[in-house]
Structure formats: C-alpha cells, structure tokens
C-alpha cells in the first residue's frame, strides 16, 4: 500500500495571531510551527495502516519554504518513509491542490490523506480539488478508516451523526479525529528521520481566481459585565432586554 500524506505547517493552536506591514504580513516571530492537527491524525492513521499491512510506503508531501523542514522531519520521525517538499509559499488551496495532483500523477498512490482543513487559512477545499484533478473520489471529514484489499470502509461525519461508507481505492480523504491518536516520535524515529530522503521540487506554474488583499483582527469585546452570583435573575433580565437573545 502506497500512501501520500499531505501536511501543512501551521502555528501551534495556543498561538496569538498578529500581523505587520499594514496588516498584509503574518508575524511568525515567536510562533512555534506544528504539523496541522488534522494532518497529524491522517499521518498517524497512515502509519497504523502500514504497520497492519506489514508493507507499503508512506510519502509526506508539503508545500512550503525551507524553514518548514523541521515539521517535515517530525513527520518522518513519526513513521513516514520519505518526503517531498515543493519549494514555494502555499499561495492558496488551488495552488496546493495543483502541486499535490501534479506529483501524484507521476506516482501511483492507493490513498492520498490529509487533514479536513488547515487551521491557518481554513479553506478546506484541497482534498476535494485533488480528487477532481486526479479523477478519483474524495471524501471528507473521515473519522474512521479501514482497508481490506482494494476496499476502504470509512466513517464520515454528517450533521448530527455519522455515516459508514465503502469505496474502492484509490481515494483522497480529508481526515479528522478520532481516526487515530496523535503519535509522539520515538528517539529511534527521530534518529532515523535525519537520514530519510527529502526531495525538494519546484512548483508547477499556476493561476488562481483568488487575490489576497489584507488581514484583520477581530474587534475585542468590550468589558465583560459582571453579575453577582446571588443575582442570577439580573442575568436573565439582561439577556432578555439588553442583549435580546432569549
């Protein structure tokens, strides 16, 4: 089984977000970058599937500049066999999908896994676009994945519940918990990751229908109005007549 796992490098979930240059640049100073949390679930499941099958190969795919290599090395330490980095800023979801599809066309993957969305730009369109570009089905958000021969059985989240689905490989899947538990790299994994192959390729040409303009931070809420714990009736009155939400 050959699995391609696409990962993003995103600010740690505890990060405070700020912008510079007239709100056109994200300030990365002081930010710790991690494997996208949803991508990390996808990677963990890929490692489990390979272990269960006893054979196969996991390739990690990332679009980003050289400073994201520690994140790629971490994915290799968790259990991927080799990695490909497209040497470019991830301009938008269309750009990333084009890069993944262009690479995947040159190989033959049974599964292309990624998170259901990145937690920085939250577009959530990459898995669907890759499926269309490759002409294979895409499913998201997948919460459980089992492979039997050429058949995949999946649990997919639907509103207010879940659905069990079956489809034949190859597939593109957007993943989320509880598909697997995040894996912490072992010392042996970290050592071996240093020598695993990491190929750097240049992006394919591309044009998108999107144009970034600027960032904006939400306006902070005005001071919280405190109510004494012995006056809960006052809260009811405020919700009714001031906030008008009940």
């Amino acid at each position: 089984m050959n699995i391609l796992v696409c990962i993003t490098s995103v600010p740690d979930t505890t990060s405070k977000i700020s912008f510079s240059d007239n709100d056109t640049k994200f300030v990365s100073a002081g930010i710790t970058f991690i494997i996208g949390p949803y991508d990390d679930y996808a990677l963990a499941r890929a490692v489990e599937l390979k272990e269960a099958a006893g054979s196969g190969n996991i390739t990690v795919f990332h679009v980003g500049e050289a400073d994201s290599e520690p994140v790629i090395r971490k994915a290799l330490a968790i259990g991927a066999d080799d990695a490909v980095r497209v040497n470019s800023v991830a301009k938008d979801g269309y750009f990333v999908a084009d890069q993944i599809a262009a690479y995947a066309k040159t190989k033959s993957f049974d599964l292309i896994l990624m998170g259901k969305e990145s937690i920085d730009f939250n577009s959530g369109i990459v898995h669907g676009l890759v499926g269309e570009l490759l002409g294979i089905p895409s499913i998201s958000p997948v919460m459980k994945l089992n492979i039997n021969g050429n058949e995949a059985t999946m649990e997919k989240e639907i509103e207010g519940g879940k659905e069990t689905l079956q489809a034949s490989l190859p597939l593109v899947l957007g993943c989320q918990e509880p598909i697997a538990e995040w894996k912490i790299p072992s010392m042996r994994g970290i050592m071996s990751a240093r020598t695993k192959p990491l190929q750097v390729i240049e992006p394919t040409s591309f044009s998108s229908g999107l144009e970034f303009e600027k960032y904006e931070l939400p306006t902070p809420r005005t001071n919280c109005k405190m109510i004494s714990d012995s006056q809960v009736e006052e809260l009811v009155t405020l919700l009714k007549s001031e906030a008008k939400v009940i």
């Binding site: 144009e211 405190m226 004494s228 009811v236």
Partner: protein, 319 residues
Amino acid sequence: MSVLIFLETTDNQIKKSSLEALVYGRTIASRSGGSVTAVVAGNPSNLSEAASHGASSVMQISDSRFSQNDTQAFAEALSEAANQKSASLIVMAKSVFSDSIVPKLSSIWKAGAATNVVSLPESDANFSVKRSIFTGKAFEAMKLTSERKIVSIKKNAVAVSLAPAAGEVVAFQPSVSSKAFSIRTVSTEKATGEILLSDAEIVVSGGRGLKGPENWGLVTDLAKVLGAATGCSKPVSDLHWRPHHEHVGQTGIKVSPNLYIAIGISGAIQHVAGISSSKVIVAINKDPEAPIFKAATYGIVGDAFDVVPKLTQALRNSL
C-alpha cells in the same frame, strides 16, 4: 448578476443557515437586478420560506438518490442548474456537507471559491469579501477574480429578513455522471430530535469545572429550558466525559450562536477561537482570573453547582 443558492435541509426542513445564504445571494442579485434561484432536494415542509426570503424560482430535485447526500452528485447538479439559469454566483451555507461540495463544484463549474465568508462583496466588479481564518482568530479580505464565483457563508454572518418573491417551484432532474453515487452508504446514524450544535441559536457548554460526567445534568437541564444544543471543552471530550462530536473549539466544532453559555470552562485560546463569532457569551466560572471572562459579554464568578441550578430555575420562571 444572477445568483443560485443551494438550500440544505435537515429533518425535512430548510436550515436557517441556508435562509441566511439565500438572503446573502438575494442582496447581491438585487444590486444589479439579476435573478435569484434556489435549489433544493426533497420536499421540505417549510419550502414556502424560499419564496418569502426572496427566491424568484425554486428548482426542486425529487430524484430519491439525492437523499443520500452524495457530494459529487450535488456538485454536478448545482453546476447544471447554474448553467441553466446563467448564474455567475453560487451561494451556500457553510456546513459539514457543503464543505465537500464546494471544491468539487469549483472544479466542475470552473469557478473560484471562497469558504467561511462573513461579509458581502464590495460590488459585483470588485468582489472583495472577508473570510474567517486562523479558526476564528482573524479575518482576511480577498478578492474573487474569476468570472464564476462560489461563496460559502459562515453561520450568523447575515441577518435573515423577509422579501417575498414569486418562488415558482419547478421540477429539476439533474443529469449526473457515472462518478456520482459511486460511494456506497452502508449505514447512517443520526440523532433525531436533538438540536444540532453547528446550527443552534443557543449553546450551553461545560468544562472540567463540572468535575465529572455524572454532573452533566446541570448543562442539559439549562439547555432544555433554553432550547439549546449542548457542547463541551476539549479536555472534557479527551477525558471521554462527553462524546467527541460535542467538542467546541479550534480543532472541534466552531459555533456562532446568538448566545453561548460557558460553564466551568477556563477559556483556553483554542476554545475561545471556536466561539469567538458568537453574538453574546456568558461565562460562569469560580476563578475570577479565568481568561474566559475576557471573551465574555456577561460573567458570573461563582460555583457552577450553586449558580447553574439557580439560573435554570430563574429562566424556567421567566420564559
């Protein structure tokens, strides 16, 4: 510009968030006098709301295969409908279902797509919209420059208002490809009668301050009085006190209700990110320094085991 709006249904009802999408699309169409067409599958009991909220026509899919919610089939159907109506914009409410339709439709219909949108475009020519990014921690303004455009709207970004239109219902039989319905649905589990967290007007959530799953009655009793959905913080779902699908936050469900009540939740930045677009936030926590009070509109410092039952009773008396 002529606009097509996809109306999603749940429990045989057009969702309120889809009516928000309809109002969004109607507002853009009215700037230039374009047509407003709604597309719906099945026969929802509140179908007349499409007309009352401004749809000049409603394309109704009766093909029962569409009840499977196959995203490929819906993407192909919406593309065909938009071409029939010469629409240049397709609008839908952001949801776990539409999230998978948007990229497929973008590819099939050859349109640029913006998801998570919270504002109307500047104008038809300058289609600059604001999207929620960094999971609620920031926004970006971006322009759709493609000729055809797709927008998915974040819940509660649009105020719903009536604008009666003809809303003539026309049968629509999409001609889908062999790729549609290729994924087999083995079984479906769906809670019925429960209020959907992502679509709820009011959400009551509990955190570790509730000390254990046996105390969840505090949350559910309050939710019942308010007709609210229930949620929880990440530690609570990690501890398996509550199911994963109730986890509200950056890596869980993002909510934007009118009223969010956080009980015994300290307000970690990841939790606040998932609730930041709520209209009003009430925090109940015994620690006056808890960061949740910085995100809240109203706060009570006190013991949840004392305050929440009193609040539930006070609401019961007054609603």
